[in-house]
Amino acid sequence: MGRARTIARRSFIIGSAAIAGGVAFGAYMVRKPHDNPLTADAGEAVFNPWVKIDADRITLITPHTDIGQGAAHMQATLIAEELDVELDQITTAPGVPAAAYYNTALAGDAVPFKFNDDGFGAQTMRGVMSAAIKLLGAQVTGGSTSVPDSFDKLRAAGATARETLKLAAAQETGFAVADMRTEAGQVILPDGTKRAYTDLAATAATLEPVTDVPLRDPAQWRLIGQDVQRLDIKAKSTGTQTYGIDLEMDGMLHASVRMNPYKGGAMQSFDASGAKDMRGVQKIVALDGGVAVIADNTWRAFRALEEIDITWGDGPYPAQQADHWAEVAASFTPERLDKEWRADGDVDAALDGAQVIEAEYRAPYVAHQPLEPLSAVVKVGDDRVDIWAAHQLPRFVQQRVAAALGRDAEDIHLHNQYAGGSFGHRLEFDNIDRAVDVARQMPGTPIKLTFRREEDFVQDYMRQIGMARGRGAVAQGQVTALDLDIATVSAARSQAARLGQPLPGPDTQIAAGAWNMRYAIPDLRVRAYAVPELAPTSSWRSVGASTAGFFAEGFMDEVIHAAGADPLEERLRLANDPDARHVLEAVGEMSDWGAPLAPGSGRGVALVTSFGVPTAEVVEVTNTPDGIRIDRVWVAAEVGRVVDPVTFENVVAGGVIWGLGHAMNSEITYDAGVPEQTNFHMAEGMRLHQCPVIEVRGLENNSQIRGVGEPPVPPAPAALANAIYVATGTRLREMPFWNTVDFV
């Protein structure tokens, strides 16, 4: 923990400001002349807050968006650990969008270097990227960075608040700070008297805050690493958790939209005569590229939309799915080489004259399909615009809406909400943009825009479509050479273009999870090819690794089988770093790898590193008369530190289910430019009865704290395909697998 202490001393100072008799504590990077001052609601003098205490309550600000991953709970836990409050003593709030909440952990995976590469080039690029992110004030929830971004600085925020409260108690009582301790939201004085933080707030607000606070040794932690009941579990278990889509306001109207499903195409004309007199319909609004209905409730808006005849214009990408695939297949050319990421040994020489194993892999477009469809409430007022929506990029929302309405960013107030899932969907802006388009037509009225599920699917920006071509060679029962060419459209460029952000250099995500494979194969080459933009794409949980990880570990398994080697033993033999070996050993032990299996059963293993987390999974399946049954999954991930074991297990298991479910049955195909799958019955993920028993283990050997939202996803499809091969002899090289095998 020496590193954390150093950071706390070097990089953080305390900010404090009076808030209606209370005090706000925070920490922010010292050397940041370009950081904007904090935004605040009218009448509040708040800046950089993570801890807010007034005479009534202790409020912890949790600016990472909670999209179901437990971010609010995690952030509160880290602050509470050092603040010495119990979780039932506090309330949490997402705070306002602020540059001070820029993501300090985002740079690591945004540069084309392995996360553990400490070379000059890697460090320089990370520095440049960090500076850019800081300058942008990029408050981002994504890239599995919420924990690494929060781990040091939120504990520091809690510690500084605690020490300042002790100082306030000293001033009020005359006792020495050194003789005080804190517990459960109180300062305990030497005579045993207890002073509640809330009672000390007014005095604390008048003090110069304590600036140099060492963080506690992990041996003293009360909350981190313990089974602590998650803050939102009661509300979620009882159905009382409110999400953005649940909001109700006085005078609110409800809207829904139909936009051109051939994304990017125009709306040529529409006839709303069949809808305008329908019950509850208040207004029908033409938008750029679509139409909206404002009604007195959501359902009536939905139904009215269906009665509008619309003529759509064509979009800018191939109309038929086959043409998408043809473009991908034509992309393995020198002109489209994005980067040769890995060139160990001499692959060409190794394959020349060898008996070459060859295979082609494919991954389709898939939608994000969160259970809560996109929504947003917007109220356009004379001097302020209020937006209630769940978004992973709060400050970008502010800036975007300000630009759209010709107002100052300070006048745009985003009230970030809990999200019923995102998986990357809430990094896009369609719900915000459309809600603003509609609400500006009725100033002063809060309007809730809710996308129909079908609209949510069709207007989504899909996961990148891609293919891989692999060649491999074996000798004496070992893998000796592997050559992997991966071609996908660049989701990063597609997304960045919509944000108006340049994206220099190669796309790190095309071959993510493949080029950084932790194997010492003597002759190993991984090349990424960028397919020109087709249908627009976006970050999808685990991004590039969700496709390239499948390609790499599926093909790797083929080559291992061709060598006649054991899939786990050979991976262990090739593993070139301790973390990779540890996670493989862990799943081997957990699954009792090598133990005899029932007839018709098979096991597959896969190891993929994404977002700095080497994650190994073993999947066990049984080939039943009705189809493949997925029985059990074992997962081990090296994350440096598990903040909350229960949440960790749930997030990892959720990632496995997500990865398996999509590998089984989800794809988006285009016909006449339009997605053919429009609801869960056509892309359903995993059903409850299909869910295997999942056993999770978090390893804490590495000094780097890592997030685990995405890393459990990429190994799942490969481990499943590898298990099905063992059980059936059928090698699955193309997702979704249900096009080839049945699942029960």
Binding site: D626, G627, N665, E676, Q677, N679, F680, H681, M682, E684, R687, L688, H689, W738, N739, D742, F743, V744
Partner: protein, 192 residues
């Protein structure tokens, strides 16, 4: 008209006069069309065995497969032991225009009796099963015809709505084929 034709066919076949003269090939051809209906997923989804697990098919559901949500109709065949079919298939005739909504008919949703299970069976197996009251839930041919004509399930199978695949042909054609098959003496292809 077809009720009359069936009555006539049954009467005549009962006398043993016309049946022998009826073209067996025509009967077998009619049976082939009946089997095309019986073996269609729209029908086999429910004509399942003792496991009581209905199937799902069509509408982008991918390959014909077991009903999702782990639905088991149980020995009761109505799901009484776990989740009643009526939890979702609420039992009133619906417009059935929402592909992802549970379809509704004007009857209590349930699986047919186990004796009428024919999912996965060959044409000849189903044929012999269907003409024998011991294995067809006690129907004589007239009652079977009435059942097909009146069953809300069978009707729905031809007009499932919401973009679902319908059973091939029409209900009228099915009944007509049944008449021909019965008039021909319910022949079954021995090859199966």
């Amino acid at each position: 008209m077809k009720r009359l034709a069936l009555g006539l066919g049954l009467a005549l076949s009962a006398t043993g006069v016309l049946a022998q003269d009826t073209d067996r090939d025509a009967g077998l051809a009619a049976w082939a069309d009946i089997y095309a209906v019986a073996s269609h997923p729209r029908c086999t989804n429910c004509h399942v065995g003792a496991a009581g697990r209905p199937g799902w098919a069509g509408l982008g559901y991918g390959p014909d497969r077991l009903h999702a949500m782990n639905i088991i109709a149980g020995e009761s065949r109505i799901g009484a032991e776990s989740v009643p079919c009526r939890t979702c298939h609420i039992g009133a005739a619906g417009a059935n225009d929402r592909p992802h909504a549970a379809p509704q008919i004007d009857d209590a949703w349930r699986l047919p009796p186990v004796e009428l299970a024919w999912r996965g069976k060959s044409s000849a197996e189903v044929c012999r099963q269907l003409r024998n009251p011991d294995t067809n839930d006690g129907f004589d041919m007239a009652a079977l015809s009435d059942h097909l004509a009146q069953s809300a399930f069978v009707n729905w199978g031809f007009t499932p709505g919401g973009g679902r695949d319908a059973a091939p042909g029409t209900l009228a054609q099915l009944l007509e084929n049944l008449d021909i098959w019965v008039a021909a003496g319910t022949p079954c292809d021995n090859a199966g």
